[in-house]
Symmetry: C2
Subunit: 334 residues, 2 copies
């Protein structure tokens, strides 16, 4: 089996206390013994047992990350950010893909509880009361990323969805478009759904384009759904010359649909996305989009969780990171 501190002690001819001290407070043990101990540790490839340490410290130095859909490219970036922050801060990371399934999410929280993760970052999904109750019931500190809660007092880091949507639509208007539609997230399973239509409506209203405010179809996070939604949108409103899509994946779905209908993008219709996935620059045409600082979102959320864990509180509760308009090839002046 794996060597224990006992065997290291025996090999070095000292007590286990001394071995422990060599690892945790090296300068309290005299040089001669210290080097003998270090030799023994290396010879045996000794690695202290995390279970025993966990028992003492009551900490696992592990964080949990709950992801709604790992096949959504958006999350690859936030995972990288969270993981890099974890490395910097000395945590391990346990990533779980919930598929937006309530039961599964709850069961992962149980696992986190059992494994004694120090905290969890909860990504992009709605914080349902069940989740909240369970998390606080298990006394697990947590933060939200790309999400927030109106009901509860929970730390979060995200983008200003309303403003970002506003900027996207404003851009389309400045390009000269007057007939503008939108493909949005279903409100009942997304947190950014409502603020993004709010931004859409505000930009429209501000320019006297209220008549477009209802030209919205909703989809459920996936390409195929957005394809279908575009179909519904364009059969209902064939006059549209621009579409605001609340996700790059939706923009791709919309463009695919338009392509199949032989409608040119951006020749006849301009499409703007949201997220700036790595894929957006690879698509044909390259997507004009609102860039979220995806990696930073993940990174900051882990830092914030760390702050919560060490200080017991967090300096800014609802943190907003900056979005940015990226102009590429899927949009054009009207």
């Amino acid at each position: 089996m794996k060597p224990t501190i006992r065997e290291v002690a025996k090999m070095a001819g000292v007590s286990i206390s001394t071995v422990s001290r060599v690892m945790n407070a090296p300068d309290t043990v005299v040089e001669s013994k210290r080097s003998r101990v270090i030799e023994a540790i290396e010879a045996l490839k000794y690695q202290p047992n995390a279970f025993a340490r966990g028992l003492i410290y009551k900490k696992s130095f592990t964080l949990g990350l709950l992801i709604p859909d790992i096949e959504n490219m958006y999350f690859a970036g936030v995972i990288r950010g969270v993981q890099d922050a974890c490395i910097k801060l000395g945590y391990s990371l346990m990533i779980c893909n919930t598929d937006r399934d309530k039961e599964r999410t709850l069961s992962y929280i149980d696992t986190f509880h059992e494994k004694q993760v120090d905290g969890v970052v909860f990504a992009s999904d709605i914080l349902y009361p069940e989740y909240y109750e369970k998390l606080v019931g298990c006394r697990i500190p947590f933060v939200l990323v790309s999400s927030h809660s109106d009901e509860y007092e929970v730390a979060s880091v995200e983008v200003d969805d309303e403003k970002a949507a506003y900027d996207a639509v404003k851009f389309l208007i400045e390009l000269g478009h007057r007939e503008i539609g939108m493909i949005g997230f279903n409100h009942d399973n997304s947190v950014s759904g409502p603020p993004r239509v709010a931004g859409f409506v505000r930009a429209l209203t501000e320019s006297g384009l209220e008549r477009n405010a209802g030209k919205i179809k909703y989809a459920n996070h996936r390409f195929e759904q957005a394809y279908q939604a575009s179909h519904d949108l364009f059969t209902a409103y064939p006059e549209l010359t621009a579409v605001f899509c609340v996700a790059d994946e939706f923009a791709m779905g919309t463009i695919s649909y338009l392509k199949d209908r032989n409608i040119l993008v951006p020749g006849q219709v301009s499409v703007i996305g949201f997220d700036n996935l790595r894929m957006s620059g690879m698509f044909i045409p390259k997507l004009t989009t609102i860039a979220q600082p995806i990696y930073q979102l993940g990174y900051r959320s882990a830092e914030k969780l760390h702050e919560l864990l060490t200080d017991g509180t967090v300096s800014v509760m609802k943190e907003k990171l900056e979005h940015k308009l990226i102009i590429r090839e899927s949009s054009r002046e009207k």
Copy 2:
């Protein structure tokens, strides 16, 4: 703090042994006490401490997963597969993104060792001797997915790369193409690089097209690199009417390049990819490709690891899963 078995025992008015028995062998404790204990457990939301259990069982019921590049869409699928298998088999999963960095990979193995993961699945990367030595030095059982080792006796599950590449090129030939090039993986940091050029060459040779065997440029896993490689390929061999790309991301890079050069795909040049990413059906044009059973690859690798952990050995050492040709829009008869 979190409640312990002691507090449950006190609340139920029994000894801690009884509580433990209720959880692990319920029928050895009399109904009246059992129900009192269950009540107490629920009232306190008691969850046994995984550290204490780990100390006893010498198992963490946690697996580690080493991923080279989490932003590569290929891995989203294998992660899902591994994770679903883990749920079925009762393991938790610790996913680590190595960025193909040796030091980082080694350091993750240390973490796995310290956290006492029961085993690790190692994805898609070359099993360098350092990795192998460290893993066996730490006595951590492991399996390879989308990879294999010629040097060492390690269980693996992957696709038959040579055959798959052969099938791809054969398909191009049957379409009537005679001038065929390839965008491959750099041999020095990929395991599937060499077998895929072998398949390319075999298909060519079989049809008397050896003259094409050298028309290969190499790229390093990413779109941008494939774009550049396509540039090199087509300036060196402008006669090409078809390209075999060893990854869908490469195919997208190639098509992007061709598009920028106003070369029609599939009108003038046919492109076939490899992987069948979820994205491949979303791209314009939709990619003809060799589908890997990505999810199953992940799923099987976790099952295999489980087999290794429970039986101490594995029934089939080098397992191959079936690939499949998917014909979509990026290829056309010559």
